[in-house]
Amino acid sequence: MQPAGSGPMRELFRKSPAGIPKGESPGANAEDNSPSENRQAEGLVVNRRGETPVVILSKRVLTNSLFEAMLKEEWRIHSTMFGSAGFALFPLLLVAIATAGALMWPFFSDLLPPLTAVGLLHGGYLLAGMSVGGFGLFGREVMNRRFGQASLIAYSSRSLPVSERAILTAFLLKDTVYYLAFWVLPFVAGLAFAAPFIGLPLPLVLRLAATLSLSFLLGLSLVFLLSTIYVHSPRALLALFIVAVGAAIILAGPVNAGIVGLFPPLGLYYQPTPLLLLVTLLLIIVPSAISVRFLKVEYREETRRYPGTLDNLAGRLAWLPDPYLVAKDALDLNRSEGGAGKVVFSFLFPVAFIWIALFVLHRFIPMLSPLMAFAILLGVVSSTIYNWVTEFDLFSSHAFLPVEVKTVIRGKLESYGLLNLVSVAILVAAGLGTGQAGLLLPALLTFASLSFYAVAVTVYVGGLSPSVMLYNAKVYVPYLGLITPVLLFTLFVSLPNPWFALTSLVLIPAGWFVLKKAFTKWSTVEQPGF
């Protein structure tokens, strides 16, 4: 990864107009940057106060240079983590998935109506925009874990003569260009490839490209706005949330604005009118402009203190093989941003989505047992909990201690097993709540088999860094290849009789085999340092 202050950033500050004495530092303090005292020269502004000239950049040149530097930085972050070739393949993977999905569409169009699918796509890109923006603003903790003391250009206003406002402007532009190029366009390209074969008109594909991009940008600008409001006043954010919910209820109810009013980018897909386009653009530009105008950056300097609880916690977990490793994972989860709740909530959201989707599907496929299908999917989704328990440390923290990679992985799996109790509780609640207690036992066994197998595969392909490795297409494709057939087969055999899903018990020895292979694999390769 490129540190701030090197590469393009270094070039940025090398540019010096004639007449500036050699060797003068570009470092400026806030007082010296008064615009009224500056004179612009070829994109550079020279401030001469007293005997110490200071060089700063005009806004336009600064934003352009920051934008370019941030683009390179974003690429280097990803290519450092995944390898240039691996990351370059990711858009191609998206193209392939979109093409394959679109080609299979005719077989599934009865199950998932086009309107629902298009709505889900737009919703997905809205969430993608929100997550990208969220990572940019709050991802420092994750970055520091990945790269040691990471320094991104976004955090460089304290050490370089660059205003936070200029940085945020460039950051918004960078996210817009970079992620549209990497996430939105490949997906649309995939649809375009399949369009002639499934009778999808090309203008509709282009419209989808525009509205998906707008959905993504809406998510991005909303997160920036929400974070800006939060920094000024958490109460104001709460008030805004209440107002937004109230407005949504009024729009959906008395006003009957429909999807056009509730989610303008999607509305624009159905009814492309200039007015709706204007409204959508305003919904993106205004929050972004407000965020830039009212930006307030708070660098948290607080020192967090805790009474020592590791020994106590490890004592309570003494029945596990690695109580200290599990206790450490628990403290990591609990003390990191968002606390342990972030795991539960990030997990509950897709689980709730699956539960609702299954009941919708049940209307089209009456032979589908929602509880058993839920257990199968829950098993695979639960394996993502392993990503959380590996999120807060690297093996390099343990590399100089007498501990093996496989011991650390085993500790993570113990933590994973404990957190899976949440999934078990959800499954039991779902079974009892829907009056399917009779199916609970096979559902629980099926869930356990799938969960064990899926986490074994995750460990095999991703080791102690699955959340990084799985972004690499070269890793993600084998992961999909090992999980998808098993998932589809188990779902398929459960259709005639939900008890047939118990064939998945064979996945326990299979998972055990994969896990043993994984231990051998990660014990013999040098741990990636990222």
């Binding site: 020192t303 100089f400 501990v403």
Partner: protein
Amino acid sequence: MQGKGYREIWAGPKGPAQEGGPVRRARLAKPAGFAYGGIPLEHVIEVQNLTKTYGDVTAVSHVTLSVRKGELFGLLGPNGSGKTTMIKCLTGQLKPTEGAVRVMGIDAVEEPVRVRELVGITPEQETPPSFLTAEEYLRFVGHIRKIPDIGEQVSFWFDFLEFGDKRDVLCKDLSRGTRQKLMVAQAFLHRPGLVLIDEPLINLDPLMQRRIKDYLVGYVKGGGTVFISTHILGIAEEICTRIGIIHRGNLVRQGTVEELRAASRSIEEAFLDATRGERPDA
């Protein structure tokens, strides 16, 4: 620490356990490999023809080196010369591309965890787990290293390095200097016979640097062995008994401080002579 004798300070509560517990003695008692093949047992580090490459880059090239029990050996070299790679190979954190490494009589390639059981290591980058407090981290290390009197050891190190007021602070909120103290402490917790320290004093204030330098000298006088890597010549000249200079992955000079001084007037001159190839004033 005033009032305590030198020997009381250097050893911690109990002093270094050079030969360790019964398990360690049993393992070391067995003649094995090249430790008994002509190289005397008192060599705690034995490196033969060590080479480590990363793709096209050769970080360490054909290094042969040995460190005797009771030495304070300094590996000197410019930034990027291969010092950290060398320490990682010695402690089994990296596998050599070529060559043999034996530490405390154990093959570091075959039994890396066993080597790390016996030695203490202070890595170059201070990377304690972010969300444990300083004390929790030392206790965590104590558990992994199975140290019975960990409470006593932890208290000693908080007092000795004067950071007891930070014992309940999350590691991620500690200053770099305090994190370095923490990493120094964790390396000595189990009173190892051999400690390998990568850039030991770089973030510490002069008073703490003095204290740790004195500690290392006392540690060696008491029978311990220290291997430090640094690019700060003063540290090496002041406390090391023997020095190796590594440049572009090659061990280009080796000898006692007196031998290097005799050949080049001073350690600085020896260092500049050894690395002159890439210096602009050469």
